[in-house]
């Protein structure tokens, strides 16, 4: 390994480079976090709809329809399902910040800095992940306070965290890609229903995907949100993995969970790569 001497101390170049990369990433994330904190609406607004679903609509639907007729509590089923709305909305808001940076000019200073362009994307992603996690925790906590029943174990929590993290990475990739492709905020906001809200209705957020017509069920199985929600439920409310069975139809829940996690991871990786490529392409004239 190459080394360099500074002031008598020998520092491996690899560690120095890693340290510099980490410091840069934290600087970029710190910037985004401070800007986000200065705009409380960006934190609160994505939560409003999902909270309404979890705290008002779910109990009302349970009362009207009798719930899921299974061991899974419908309020917690919808409470976790609403995470599938809060994460996309939160990421779309985060993507809007990229357009604001570009239009307000701040992006030019970042592009002129001696940092890799992918770090600019990762800095924003880091904040989007933290903010989405915070919003999802608030949502689940409110659902529990409203009477939703959860079954949480260490392993279950790990599945839920991994699914939530990878799905957020995927959604941020979608948002960043859109932000690179669309120049006007109003056009970007116009795309929100298609990318953030529509999949929510097909992914089994409010009802099991098996309740939909066959063709729609097949479409649902191709959506990363369906897999993420199944894993979140497996980890938090449904240790028997009924949502996972509805997707894979296999008997082994652990295998199904790994398979669903693989699907979400694949989407997350692909969209991250695409978003970085699109950002580089759009940022440099």
């Amino acid at each position: 390994m190459a080394t360099t001497a500074t002031g008598g101390a020998v520092i491996p170049i690899d560690s120095r480079t890693r340290g510099r990369a980490r410091s840069t990433l934290l600087a970029l994330a710190g910037r985004r976090a401070r800007l986000t904190a200065g705009n409380p609406r960006q934190i609160a607004v994505p939560l409003l709809g999902p909270i309404l679903l979890a705290l008002v609509v779910a109990p009302a639907l349970e009362k009207a329809t009798g719930g899921l007729h299974s061991t899974v509590d419908y309020q917690s089923f919808v409470g976790v399902g609403a995470v599938g709305l809060v994460i996309p909305l939160s990421c779309i808001f985060a993507g809007l910040s990229v357009i604001v940076d570009r239009r307000a000019g701040a992006q030019r200073e970042l592009l002129a800095a001696p940092v890799s362009r992918s770090q600019l994307v990762f800095g924003n992603l880091l904040v989007a992940v933290c903010l989405s996690a915070l919003q999802a925790i608030v949502l689940v906590a409110l659902t529990a306070l409203r009477g939703g029943r959860f079954h949480v174990s260490g392993a279950g929590l790990a599945w839920a965290l991994a699914a939530g993290l990878l799905f957020t990475v995927f959604m941020y990739g979608v948002a960043e890609t859109l932000a690179s492709r669309i120049s006007k905020p109003e056009e970007y906001v116009g795309a929100t229903p298609a990318v953030a809200i529509l999949p929510f209705f097909f992914a089994g957020a409010l009802y099991p995907i098996s309740a939909m017509p066959g063709a729609l069920t097949d479409i649902a199985k191709a959506l990363p949100l369906t897999h993420a929600l199944a894993l979140l439920r497996y980890g938090l409310v449904d240790p028997h993995g009924q949502s996972l069975h509805a997707i894979w139809g296999a008997g082994n829940t652990t295998v199904e969970a790994w398979a669903s996690l693989g699907v979400v991871a694949l989407f997350a990786l692909a969209l991250t790569a695409i978003s970085i490529r699109m950002f580089k392409r759009s940022a440099v004239g």
């Binding site: 510099r20 410091s23 840069t24 600087a27 970029l28 710190g30 910037r31 401070r34 800007l35 200065g38 705009n39 307000a104 000019g105 701040a106 992006q107 030019r108 200073e109 970042l110 592009l111 002129a112 800095a113 001696p114 940092v115 890799s116 940022a283 440099v284 004239g285």
Partner: protein
Amino acid sequence: MRTATIEVRDLRKVYAGEVEAVKGIDFDVAAGEVFGLLGPNGAGKSTTIGMLTTTILPTGGSARLAGLDVVADPRGARAIASVVFQEPVVDGGLSGLDNLSLHARLWGIGPEQQRTRIAELVPAFGLQELIERPVDTYSGGQRRRLEIARALVSRPQVLFLDEPTVGLDARIRHELLDLIAGLRERFEMTILLSTHYLEEARQLCDRVAIMYEGSIVGLDAPARLLAELGEEILELRVQGDARATLARLRAQGIAAADAFAIGATVTVPLHGRPAGQALGALEEAAISPVGMATRAPTLDDVYLQLTGGPAAEAA
């Protein structure tokens, strides 16, 4: 001879739709030199700075900052440079101090040096009272001062100033010009400045390159560019077609190739010919301007002769 810190060779940029913004330009900027890029809007100045700061990818040619190729080693080139952009690019939601610190961290400046440099720059740029406030509350001039201070936190070898005074009122412009003029004395750096304010270039720059439609049409020290027009020029206001008058003046031997017509004004460098003799020649040629004056040439004349003249004649 000083070594070149900025080397530009046959640099080109063609945008989509075959729009040729920069058409193969060449220039060197020596270490410690203040170099001006002058030209009208659309001349290619900002595209040139964009390529040198790696925010625009060149279509051809090469550019190096302190030997670092901007295409092969863009991060290396960015590490030794800072830019003050034409438009304000500070984060309005953050305080001035946050903006300075962010720049320092992105340029890899350690915390100790960061504190020292910021403590030095804040009073030097008159930002003491503002530095903790969100930048959204700053006036245009205060923002500009902050942006220049921010660019200096990393002690760049090369500083790019892209139209730094555009849009500012006269008083703030003069304050900023004094600040920029002081930079070379306080910090050892090479400065590339783009502007369309000629007085600004004359005041600040050791040499200027005049750009017109993507090419460099003149490059020298302002005094030498001025000297090319001689010590005196004759300015004629004419009624009717100024270009036709210019053609007659040339045909009569009163005007040389460097005379030019813009609007209703014909500008004729006299190149040592006495003004009285030129006026006599006008009478003999039966050219009757509605007004005329002689005066010393300015950089405006050089600029108009190199940029406006050809455009007007081609029109």
